[in-house]
């Protein structure tokens, strides 16, 4: 009696349940595999790793390798890794008959949904950010200059892109009753969202189509010609794309008899 719910506690607890689970392990292994596979294919890792260390001591002359980042890592992350943490957030509790356990606690449905979203976001970050930070040498090239700001900026923007994926995933998980259906729906939808980006250099029309997706803004970031204001603008655009999905998921869940 008298226990007050702290959303931070709920998120903290749920995050570590996700990280120390089979899906956390799969996400970790897939992230490592992704980075090392690209390193192997392009034979880049041994030389550029030392160049990365120089980023923080002097001008390294490193430049972001746009092609590998945009067409390789960011799409793989968005399609494969981030959905792992959210696809069954609600549909899993529904199909495993867990609403009676979870929602009989003194929490609101909004708190439940925010706990699901934010724990997935942080769990994804715990698994992915260190791998991305260490694997970054794969995506740089000794051409021009790469600054610490763009190093962290790129990684954080990619991380924020996962927030969009998670919001979409939460909505899909809320609307579906079966975990397999929610996984396939989320996987398929993210693949469709990626398509305009994958082919955006083919024509002006496709590039305009790509601009209708938050993925475009997350992967627009390059090592040059990007001031802080533009960066913040891109962050806002990605969040604005994400919030309608989040609000719709919460609204739908709140009015449902379970």
């Amino acid at each position: 009696m008298g226990n007050e719910i702290r959303l931070g506690n709920l998120i903290y607890c749920a995050t570590f349940r996700l990280v120390f689970s089979i899906r956390g392990l799969i996400a970790l292994l897939f992230s490592i595999y992704m980075v090392t596979m690209i390193a192997y294919i392009y034979d880049r890792l041994p030389d550029t790793f030392f160049e990365l260390i120089r980023l923080f001591t002097e001008d390294s002359g490193l430049e972001f390798q746009w092609f590998l980042f945009d067409n390789g890592l960011s799409k793989a992350v968005t399609i494969f890794v981030a959905p792992l943490f959210i696809f069954d957030a609600v549909s899993g509790d529904r199909s495993d008959d867990r609403f009676g356990l979870m929602l009989a606690r003194p929490i609101t449905r909004t708190q439940y949904m925010l706990m699901k979203l934010m724990s997935a976001f942080f769990a994804f970050g715990i698994v992915f950010l260190p791998i991305m930070a260490l694997g970054y040498p794969v995506f740089v090239d000794i051409v021009e200059t790469l600054t610490p700001a763009s190093y962290f900026g790129t990684i954080l923007l990619l991380y924020l892109l996962a927030f969009f994926t998670l919001c979409v995933g939460l909505l899909i998980s809320t609307l579906t009753k079966n975990t397999l259906v929610s996984f396939l729906a989320l996987f398929g939808l993210m693949a469709i969202i990626m398509l305009p980006n994958a082919s955006k250099y083919s024509s002006e029309a496709l590039e305009k189509a790509a601009m209708a997706t938050p993925h475009y803004y997350a992967t627009y970031f390059t090592s040059h010609a990007m001031d802080a204001l533009t960066y913040i603008g891109f962050v806002i655009v990605i969040i604005l794309f994400s919030l309608p999905f989040l609000f719709l998921a919460i609204w739908k869940f709140k009015k449902e008899s379970l």
Binding site: M1, C13, L103, A104, S257, L258
Partner: protein
């Protein structure tokens, strides 16, 4: 003020009316057996009390608080065991109960001692650090009851807590419920096994087709209808006797 007060509760699922103006009162500290055949509306009633299902009309109050308007406050006072529920197979009981405790607003430090205490209280005999998938059905049900008790609620809503258990498991669960009522907890449990009701309940309500058709103390009902057990009472009242 009763612990639970339900007035004119109606719940429609499309064309099907699960509850047709249910009225029910449970006093503080009593064990109330909520009986009826499958599909009578027992689970729907409990789900409305816990806020999982929204009623079409009517009102339900717990300790004087409206279950819709004051849902969070109501759930602080209620421990709920669903009829069917999936325990996370790869968790240990300790890990699962910790998670349920955190969801009830408790800190992990506080939960360390409480989990041992609640497990002992309901007679959970297995290792708390063993994976749930290897635990017997009776003990899984006890984990279910333990999660309902973890935040020390005043009222327990148990949906078919003895269904599917062998006689030993059933007896243990019934004894746990009796022990809880002796500590002053209000227990409302649904069942279609009327012999369970006779063993531990102060009062019984029989629901049929969404309405309460009979209410009273088990002994007085048997006396009134001149029967040996509640099964016969139910059959008479439901028109099958």
């Amino acid at each position: 003020m009763g612990a639970i007060e339900i007035n004119g509760l109606v719940k429609d699922y499309g064309d099907v009316q699960a509850l047709k103006g249910l009225n029910l009162n449970v006093e503080e500290g009593e064990v109330y057996g909520f009986c009826g055949p499958n599909g009578a509306g027992k689970t729907t009633t409990l789900k409305i009390l816990i806020g999982l299902v929204f009623p079409t009309s009517g009102s339900a109050k717990v300790m004087g608080l409206d279950v819709i308007k004051k849902g969070v406050e109501v759930r602080k006072q209620i421990g709920y065991l669903p009829e069917t529920y999936g325990l996370p197979r790869w968790d240990t009981p300790r890990k699962f109960l910790t998670y349920m405790g955190v969801l009830s607003g408790m800190t992990k430090d506080k939960l360390k001692s409480i989990i041992e205490e609640k497990a002992a209280e309901i007679g959970f005999t297995e290792n708390l650090d063993r994976k749930i998938k290897g635990i017997s059905k009776g003990n899984k049900q006890k984990i279910g009851i333990a999660q309902a008790l973890i935040h020390d609620p005043e009222i327990l809503l148990l949906d078919e807590p003895t269904t599917g258990l062998d006689p030993i498991g059933r007896n243990e669960v019934l004894n746990s419920m009796k022990a809880l009522s002796e500590k002053g907890k209000t227990v409302l449990f649904s069942t279609h096994i009327l012999s369970d009701v006779e063993k531990i309940c102060d009062n019984v309500g029989i629901i049929h087709n969404g309405v309460l058709i009979l209410e009273g103390a088990p002994e007085s009902l048997k006396e009134e209808y001149g029967t040996k057990d509640l099964d016969e009472v139910f059959l008479k009242v439901a028109g099958h006797g």
